[in-house]
């Protein structure tokens, strides 16, 4: 994992810049706020949001882009943020789970997860919510099978998916 460097040229935790690391300045709008940071080119977007911005709601569950726990929205579409370099997000709009609730109100998808017990330990949940909202944007009235296929990039170990699927269908139906 790359050290995440911030404005003053020091990594989070006070680590000095490693010699030879060529830094790239990026400007990313995250949850409506513009952030300018210098990052190593190898920095993944997930590490950028977690470590440089302190947005730890985006979780890391694997190292093979298999689990989807780190899903967030890049220009309105769900991506696994471990498959995107921070530099690729330069000039982009990013929404993380912290940006979903508005004015103290949870997003309808978050409410649907709560009302349908679509989460237990909660670790996959931010990624699931981001993937599910993106899914409904593409397909506002999915069948159960379409929800299952649409979420196949996001793993959950607690719920057996039953109530996650139910949550997404309920959100689509406006329940």
């Amino acid at each position: 994992m790359a050290p995440i460097l911030v404005h003053d040229g020091r990594a989070i935790g006070g680590t000095p810049i490693r010699k030879g690391g060529s830094l790239v300045k990026i400007r990313v709008t995250v949850n409506g706020t513009v952030h300018e940071n210098e990052v190593e080119p190898r920095t993944l977007l997930v590490h950028y949001v977690r470590e440089a911005l302190g947005l730890t709601g985006t979780n890391i569950g694997c190292d093979t882009s298999s689990c989807g726990a780190c899903s967030l929205h890049l220009n309105g579409e769900a991506v696994k943020s471990c498959t995107v370099l921070a530099v690729q997000a330069d000039g982009c709009e990013v929404t993380t789970i912290e940006g979903m609730a508005q004015g103290g109100e949870m997003h309808p998808m978050q409410k649907a997860f709560m009302e349908n017990h679509g989460l237990q330990c909660g670790y996959c949940t931010p990624g699931m919510v981001m993937a599910a909202t993106s899914l409904l944007k593409e397909n506002p009235n999915p069948t159960e099978e379409e929800v299952r296929i649409g979420l196949e990039g996001n793993l959950c170990r607690c719920t057996g998916y039953h109530n996650i699927v139910k949550s997404v269908l309920a959100c689509a139906a406006g329940d």
């Binding site: 985006t58 093979t64 237990q120 607690c158």
Partner: protein, 800 residues
């Protein structure tokens, strides 16, 4: 003050939404790796690439040159840090072999992933870069992967033990000497089956993480850890490191699942503690998923031989079991006890005479240690008996449902003293099975099967059943003593009424997704007549909840939840004395309902708990000699295990040309007694069933003959996705537990226990007309296809 009119009519049993959810849904919740700990050093462990090798040298010098690196150590460098080897809390026999196991290996690495060195740096990146520069020289030795090979001692893993056998544990119960042998000799029918419980990787979605924060000038140290067992971890860590126990505090932030894999004391926890003390600064470690696959315990890993003897009606007359259990390279916290948790359940839910012969032999291999994984011994036992019952039904030529009906312990036999001496407190298997059969349309599927499973059919249908008893709610301390378990099975609770009638509950349970805050608040609300919203549940911090035995073995509700109810009773008792004093009434004349004490027959003479709470706080007018404040503490040691039960029925369609299995319907009827919150109960069943179904269809820790894990990442290890699994049909029956005041039983593991045998029974049932009698797990398309073809070759060969 709470308006009692706002309180739901009945809190217990309602589908109250979880109070845990908003923080988890909005990203506010902090898991261990989310904690911002200034100045923390990052620990990275260097792991053996060999399953079995002598460590001939460790050179850390190149790592020390990496900018940001503070220190690097070999196992030998840290050998003097440990006051004791890593703990195994379950020496199941007096002569059990237990190799010394240290957080970093010295001299020999015994599995791929065994820690051999470590590095500390100011950033995770620097530590990882430096770890690659540590030069460890190995002399590779032959790996021991196969259990039967391990037992032969052809290659001995731990030189000082002289053998790979850890222990043998026997349980033979006979009414008359020789009854088991006699029953087999006299049996009208017998079956003898061999099943393999493949190794499974638990894959809690949150990998493990630790952060140890010392206070160098006071000597205290706080360890944040993604663990299920903060209390056990605290005691064991203190003993292993020689830290005074009162100076160690363990805190679990949000924990992202466990399934038994975080019921342990791990090398990295001990390393973080030791190095934080040594360097006087916080030390943190976060596990990568690939590390998790080798460095966190694995589940199952058993070869089971089960034999059933039955009379002409199919009534069981004896059961004989021979287990060979894979301990892995070392004994972790409760490794040796896991197969024995199943020892009492190989007769399943059936009325067996005193003719039971169980023996377990456990061996070391050069693989990741095994330990508790959801169900822990009980899914294995249930799988064996439920598969063997189908084999017996097949041998007899009767429907497996019919065979089970003939053998069930009948409702009127409860409480039932099993041949093992354990008392099954309650049950109604006929009701659960008939409800499941109805939901699954058992008769309809059989009719469809008769029409569809014709010679040459591409797609065939099968239906499979599993009925189970789960021995959970660990556990009566004296029973644990008889099994040589090193701890008790009690749980602690404190209920404290604050001056404004808000309630604090302190519990020793340590939730990691189960929703204890919600459920415990419901128990208190019901008992004290307050709103659940007025109840705060404190847990998972040994400074706040100093007493507890944590969360595993479906124990939290039937032990921890009951402890809370009992503490509420004590609070009510004290409040009643205050009420009697203030109302100038006799205690015996008072009744307590909906949060208010009133004099029987004169309801206008009453005092709400809220007023009493304030009186207890001001202490201006309490009965003579009474201590101020309103709080009570309970430590509850359950008199018996908790015995949830149920029947699961799975219907599958198998493509005989591709081997693909499609689950058409999955019905689970579970009985966990009184349900505190059906929403949470259903969630536990859903997750459990899919984990069991995943063992049946998808998951296996695959090792090559050199002991390399071939399913070392989530790209190769098939945790099912939403698209791989079906929706579930749940039903339930309610048979309250007679052993606790709430009538509750555990439900965390039930789904997993029922699922694997139900799915495999369905697949074998679908293919039985082709001559298939068994199906290894996981039943991947390749495995199913092979089984079909092997059976057809056998059939063709026989007909020639």
């Amino acid at each position: 003050m709470t308006d009692l009119q706002d309180r739901p009519a009945a809190v217990l049993g309602s589908r109250l939404l979880r109070r845990e959810d908003p923080a988890l849904l909005t990203g506010e919740a902090k898991y261990t790796n989310d904690l911002n700990v200034p100045g923390a050093l990052h620990l990275v462990v260097v792991r053996s690439p060999y399953a079995h090798a002598r460590i001939t040298s460790v050179d850390v010098s190149a790592a020390l040159d990496v900018p940001g690196v503070v220190a690097a150590y070999s196992g030998a460098d840290l050998a003097t840090v440990w006051a004791a080897p890593m703990p195994c809390a379950w020496p199941v026999t007096a002569d059990m072999k237990n190799p010394a196991h240290y957080p970093l290996a010295v001299g020999k690495a015994a599995y791929v992933g065994d820690g051999v060195a470590c590095v500390l740096a100011t950033s995770d990146t620097a530590a990882r870069d430096a770890a690659e520069l540590i030069d460890v020289q190995y002399e590779p030795l032959e790996a021991v992967v196969d259990l039967e090979d391990a037992l032969s001692d052809r290659v001995v893993i731990h030189d000082d033990l002289g053998t790979n056998k850890s222990y043998q544990w026997d349980l033979k119960i006979e009414g008359e000497p020789g009854q088991v042998d006699a029953a087999f000799a006299a049996a009208a029918y017998t079956v003898s089956e061999r099943y393999v419980q493949q190794r499974l990787i638990p894959v809690a979605m949150e990998p493990r993480a630790v952060c140890a924060v010392p206070q160098p000038f006071g000597g205290d140290i706080t360890m944040y850890s993604s663990t299920q067992v903060p209390h056990i971890l605290k005691v064991m860590s203190a003993l292993t490191l020689g830290i005074p126990e009162h100076q160690l505090r363990v805190v679990c932030p949000s924990v992202g699942g466990g399934f038994g894999s975080k019921l342990n004391v791990y090398a990295e926890e001990l390393l973080c503690l030791a190095l934080a003390r040594k360097h006087g600064v916080p030390v943190r470690w976060n596990e990568t998923r690939s590390e998790n696959h080798v460095a966190t315990i694995q589940g199952r890993g058993q070869i089971q031989h089960i034999e059933l003897a039955a009379d002409a009606d199919g009534k069981l007359t004896a059961v004989r079991v021979r287990l060979l259990a894979d301990m892995g390279a070392y004994l972790q916290l409760v490794t040796p006890g896991i197969p024995l948790l199943g020892a009492f359940l190989y007769a399943g839910v059936y009325d067996l005479p005193l003719a039971y012969d169980f023996s377990c032999t456990s061996v070391f291999t050069t693989l990741t240690p095994t330990d508790a994984y959801r169900g822990a011994g009980r899914p294995e036992a249930t799988y064996a008996i439920e598969r063997a019952m189908d084999a017996l039904a097949d041998t007899m030529g009767i429907d497996p449902m019919e065979l089970r009906q003939r053998n069930f312990i009948r409702k009127e036999q409860f409480p039932y003293t099993a041949m093992t001496g354990l008392v099954y407190d309650s049950g109604d298997h006929e009701a659960a099975a008939s409800k499941a059969a109805e939901l699954a349309d058992y008769a309809g599927v059989r009719a469809r099967q008769a029409a569809q499973n014709v010679p040459g059919a591409k797609k065939v249908v099968g239906i499979g059943q599993a009925s189970y008893f789960e021995m959970c709610g660990l556990a009566p301390s004296r029973v644990l003593a008889s099994l040589n378990y090193s701890a008790g099975g009690w749980e602690a609770a404190t209920v404290r009424v604050l001056p404004t009638n808000k309630i604090q509950v302190v519990t020793g349970t340590a939730p990691h997704g189960q929703g204890h805050e919600t459920s415990w608040s419901m128990i208190v609300a019901e008992k004290l007549g307050v709103s659940p919203d007025d109840v705060d549940v404190l847990h998972s911090d040994t400074a706040i909840a100093p007493l507890g035995l944590d969360t595993y073995g479906s124990r939290s509700l039937p032990v921890g939840g009951v402890a809370i109810a009992m503490a509420c009773d004590k609070v009510i008792d004290k409040a009643k004395k205050i009420a009697a004093h203030q109302l100038e009434a006799d205690e015996a004349d008072l009744e307590f309902a909906a949060g208010t004490f009133s004099v029987k027959g004169t309801p206008d003479r009453s005092l709400p708990l809220a007023a009493i709470a304030f009186e207890a706080f001001t202490a201006h007018n309490l009965p003579d000699g009474m201590e101020p404040n309103l709080e009570a503490h309970t430590t509850y040691d359950p008199p018996n295990f908790s015995w949830p039960f149920g029947t699961h029925i799975c219907t599958v369609e198998v493509d005989t040309e591709t081997g693909h299995v499609e689950v058409l319907q999955y019905v689970a009827v579970d009985d966990c007694g009184v349900q505190v919150n059906p929403l949470i109960v259903e969630g536990q069943v859903h997750g459990g069933v899919i984990q069991g179904l995943a063992q049946a269809l998808f998951e296996e820790a695959v090792y090559d003959s050199d002991g390399n894990l071939k399913s070392g990442t989530l790209a190769e290890y098939l945790v099912p996705a939403a698209s791989d699994v079906p929706s579930l049909t749940l039903g339930h029956t309610v048979t309250p537990s007679p052993t606790n005041q709430l009538g509750v039983k555990g439900i965390g593991e039930a789904g997993t226990i029922g699922a694997a045998p139900a799915v495999i029974n369905a697949i074998v049932d679908a293919l039985s007309h082709l001559g298939v009698r068994d199906m290894p797990m996981p039943a991947s398309p390749h495995t199913v296809w092979n089984a079909i073809n092997a059976a057809q070759h056998t059939t063709n060969g026989a007909s020639k």
